[in-house]
């Protein structure tokens, strides 16, 4: 199936009639697809005048903007850069895309041909009706303005650049089943009368089910743009104001400061940002106010934005936490407000020379805000935003750019032959101009977005050697100011269905605040799961039955909230510590807990059993738990009934606490054996007595047997219910032989002793 191999943008620095489009990396039989834009003042046809073999898929000219698209099936991996021409000499740019895994006979499934022109409003591009499954669908728009036209989140951005007087925006999506691709939107600084021309091109796949690109399932809204804050360009109709509607935020008075529109300084460097430079004040919060075009419902998700100091010196001029720092204040039409501190000098999350991300959950349950009016704002009807900061030491220049409302990324794509890598997965999260998961080093992300892997669209992921960190919940007292979002909002959600492949191996998922590690009820045991080597720290794990092999195997949960088993099989899992008040694991079926290692710091239970019954309990070990009947015993039988645990496979006998109406029997049968290589041992009387230092009373007879000939093995054996390591004395006596005596310890593996027999030549 088709997938983008590479892209390359060509911008001319001088006006021209022609453009030589630089091709990206490509291979034989790739589709080479070009979209171009020109600030044309004269109409005319686009033609290919050099290289050869290209087809002009369509072009469109209107009063001031011209656009075209062209394609060619590569016949080698070193195609000559094509030259495209249109009569007008003007500003021009293009993007070339190489696509692998295409239908080489009919690469284009459907397109809008010469496209559509418009002269008003933001670019809204009607989709096409694909006739085959698994099409790559490209949406493109060209306009004659110096402002990068940008696809909304959901489309994966390829380009949103401009030359100063012409702009080209291109994004793509994956259409798994034939049908309507839907209307997709772009935004830009288009005024009434600004021309733009729009294309949609759907590319056929080769039907091999090999190259399926990473994509977001567009049936779920990943994020909505609240405001791009692009200086004094207002693509969504709101505007920065000339005064503040709110006189005080908490105990701080506010002071108005007009914003400056700073060209080419936004998250998208082809966009302006909005800058405040409040006057020096040891008491005020200075800044500006943006009134939205209409009141917004900011519940059901959380806001993500970013700020940036003009220079590192501006960081020094910004107030500390105690001064009020940098704040985002949201208010309704009655000027009821809530304000959040998103940065401050010397805070742990505010960088002097990098872009500083912030997230705000307006309907948060845990209040991390700086101040709220006596009557809180109506969160479903927020109509203004104040961007203010404390400036006790100077005039801190502070830019704001982009504000979106995050919902959830739903990861799809990949195949069993070419599953998605961690980098592929991250490309989906960072497909909008504002990255939702900034990359940390090699193989790491700081993720501001809930991630769902799988769902109604097929997915195959094989991520290895990665690190995902979710932000720590904000707290002014601890100096973390960037993430004002409740626990368990971000995290990983799994919805692998039959045939899906979900492998997250040898990775680390971590946060100081609780996050989701949740398997939905719709997960399938017919998917392929593998979490070998995965370490999950600080999560709220909600597991499901994903099969008895693979799945939750050879992985670790460290200091998580209570793990909900929900019938899941855990095999060779280490569960070290818990954040929960009672027990690390809430188990409804202990028989599916195998070879697991539970480690305690001396408080809380390992397992809270919720269902009465008799369970095999294989190979589980417990370290650091308390005595029977205590709140730190390994097992807490909270089933209200009788539980029997039959331990085998080297499992350690756990200590137990019974809840109301509950009783617990632990059977840990191990074998005690005393043998001798000589048949003279038959008939010997063999005893094992408990010594001090174990759970048994000293002197208790643990074994009293006569040795027998057991199919050629001369031994005495007995089953023993292992309670804990038990020091013992072993004796074997038989007339005519010197009595044998030794000491040893019964462990969870039992005890085997070989008696070395000596003839007693003295006895008569």
């Amino acid at each position: 199936m088709a997938a983008i191999r590479d892209t390359k943008v060509t911008q001319l620095t001088v006006e021209a009639a022609t453009i030589t489009v630089e091709l990206p990396e490509h291979a034989t039989n790739d589709l080479l697809l070009v979209f171009g834009a020109k600030d044309a003042v004269a109409n005319g046809a686009w033609t290919e005048i050099a290289a050869g073999g290209w087809t002009i898929g369509g072009y469109n000219n209107s009063t001031g903007a011209s656009g075209f698209w062209a394609y060619k099936k590569a016949t080698s991996s070193s195609e000559t850069n094509p030259v495209f021409s249109q009569g007008d000499v003007d500003s021009i740019m293009a993007v070339a895309i190489s696509i692998q895994g295409i239908n080489t006979t009919t690469p284009i499934n459907v397109s809008t041909g010469n496209g559509v022109t418009a002269t008003s409003g933001q670019p809204s591009i009607d989709g096409v009706e694909t006739t085959s499954s698994n099409c790559l669908v490209f949406y493109a728009v060209a306009a004659d303005v110096g402002w990068g036209l940008t696809p909304y989140p959901g489309l994966q951005r390829i380009v949103s650049d401009d030359t100063g007087s012409t702009t080209l925006g291109v994004g793509w999506m994956f259409q798994a089943t034939a049908g309507a691709t839907g209307t997709r939107n772009f935004y830009g600084a288009l005024a009434a009368g600004d021309d733009h021309t729009k294309f949609v091109v759907a590319v056929n796949d080769d039907g091999s089910a090999t190259f399926i690109p990473p994509y977001h399932d567009i049936d779920t809204t990943m994020a909505e743009i609240v405001e791009p804050f692009t200086g004094t360009f207002y693509p969504f109709g709101g505007a920065w104001q000339t005064s503040l509607s709110i006189a005080t935020i908490g105990s701080k008075s506010t002071a108005y400061d007009a914003i400056s529109s700073i060209a080419d300084s936004g998250v998208n460097p082809f966009h302006a940002s909005s800058r405040i430079t409040p006057a020096l004040s040891k008491t005020n919060l200075g800044g500006t106010q943006f009134n939205f075009a209409s009141a917004k419902d900011l519940t059901g998700g959380f806001l993500l934005g970013s700020t940036k100091f003009l220079t590192a010196r501006d960081y020094i001029d910004t107030g500390f936490i105690s001064n009020g720092g940098i704040q985002i204040c949201l208010a309704d039409s009655s000027n009821n407000y809530k304000s959040w501190m998103v940065g401050a000098q010397r805070s742990k999350t505010t960088s002097s020379d990098n872009r500083n991300f912030f997230a705000i959950q307006v309907d948060q349950s845990t209040d991390t805000g700086y101040a709220t009016s006596v009557t809180p704002p109506t969160k479903t009807a927020i109509d203004k935003l104040l961007f203010v900061e404390s400036s006790p030491l100077g005039i801190p220049a502070q830019d704001i750019s982009q504000l979106v409302k995050i919902n959830k990324a739903v990861i799809a794509g990949g195949s069993s032959t070419l599953p998605l890598s961690f980098t592929d997965l991250v490309s989906i999260l960072n497909g909008y101009i504002l990255p939702f998961a900034p990359i940390q080093g090699d193989g790491g992300i700081l993720c501001y977005c809930p991630i769902q892997i799988g769902g109604s669209k097929a997915v195959a992921v094989d991520a290895e050697n990665f690190s995902i960190q979710f932000p720590r919940q904000a707290s002014q007292s601890t100096g973390y100011l960037d993430f004002h979002v409740d626990e368990s909002v971000v995290g990983l959600i799994f919805d692998g269905r039959s045939g899906d492949v979900i492998k997250l191996r040898n990775g680390l998922i971590q946060s100081a605040s609780k996050y989701k590690f949740e398997f939905l009820a719709t997960v399938s045991t017919a998917a392929t799961w593998d979490f070998t080597g995965l370490t999950v720290i600080g999560a709220i794990p909600t597991l499901r039955n994903i099969g008895t092999t693979g799945g939750f195997q050879s992985m670790s949960f460290i200091d998580c909230d209570q793990i909900a088993q929900n019938g899941a099989t855990l095999n060779d899992v280490t569960i070290n510590g818990t954040l929960h008040a009672t027990a690390a694991l809430l188990a409804n079926d202990p028989s599916r807990i195998k070879n697991c290692s539970f480690i305690s710091g001396g408080t809380k239970h390992a397992i809270e059993i919720t269902a009465p019954g008799t369970y095999t309990f294989e190979g589980n070990t417990f370290t650091g738990f308390g005595a029977n009947g205590t709140n730190s015993a390994a097992i807490f039988n909270d089933s209200g009934g009788a539980v029997t645990l039959n331990i085998y496979g080297g499992g350690k006998t756990p200590t137990v606490r019974n809840g109301a109406g509950a009783s617990t029997t632990v059977n840990n049968s191990v074998t005690l054996e005393v043998n001798n290589p000589n048949s003279s041992f038959v008939g010997a009387r063999v005893t094992i007595y408990a010594n001090a230092g174990g759970p048994e009373t000293e002197g208790t007879v643990l074994m009293l047997e006569e040795a027998i000939n057991d199919a050629g093995v001369y031994r005495a054996t007995q089953d023993y219910n292992f309670l804990g390591n038990q020091p013992v004395t072993v004796r074997a006596k038989l007339k005519g032989f010197i009595p044998f005596e030794t000491t040893g310890t019964i462990t969870s593996n039992g005890l085997t002793v070989t008696a070395i027999w000596q003839v007693d030549s003295i006895v008569v």
Partner: protein
Amino acid sequence: MIKDDFKIDFKNKKISYNPKGSGEAYTVNALYSYLQNLFARAQNMKYQIPIMATSKTECFLINGWTIDENARKYLKEGFLVLK
């Protein structure tokens, strides 16, 4: 019978002679054999053995066992040493 003439106090680890015994003297080897068999009985397996031998005429009381002087009078043909 040696079992009637010698008293074995398992609690205090002491061997003595029965005042109502037959008055017969036994070889050290006979006492050794008697004690080994006595301590191999099921009910006595929990006790450490009281005696070991280096020859038919030289035995040692071990593991804290003792024999009173009166009882020694009824042993012959060998040495019984406290170890």
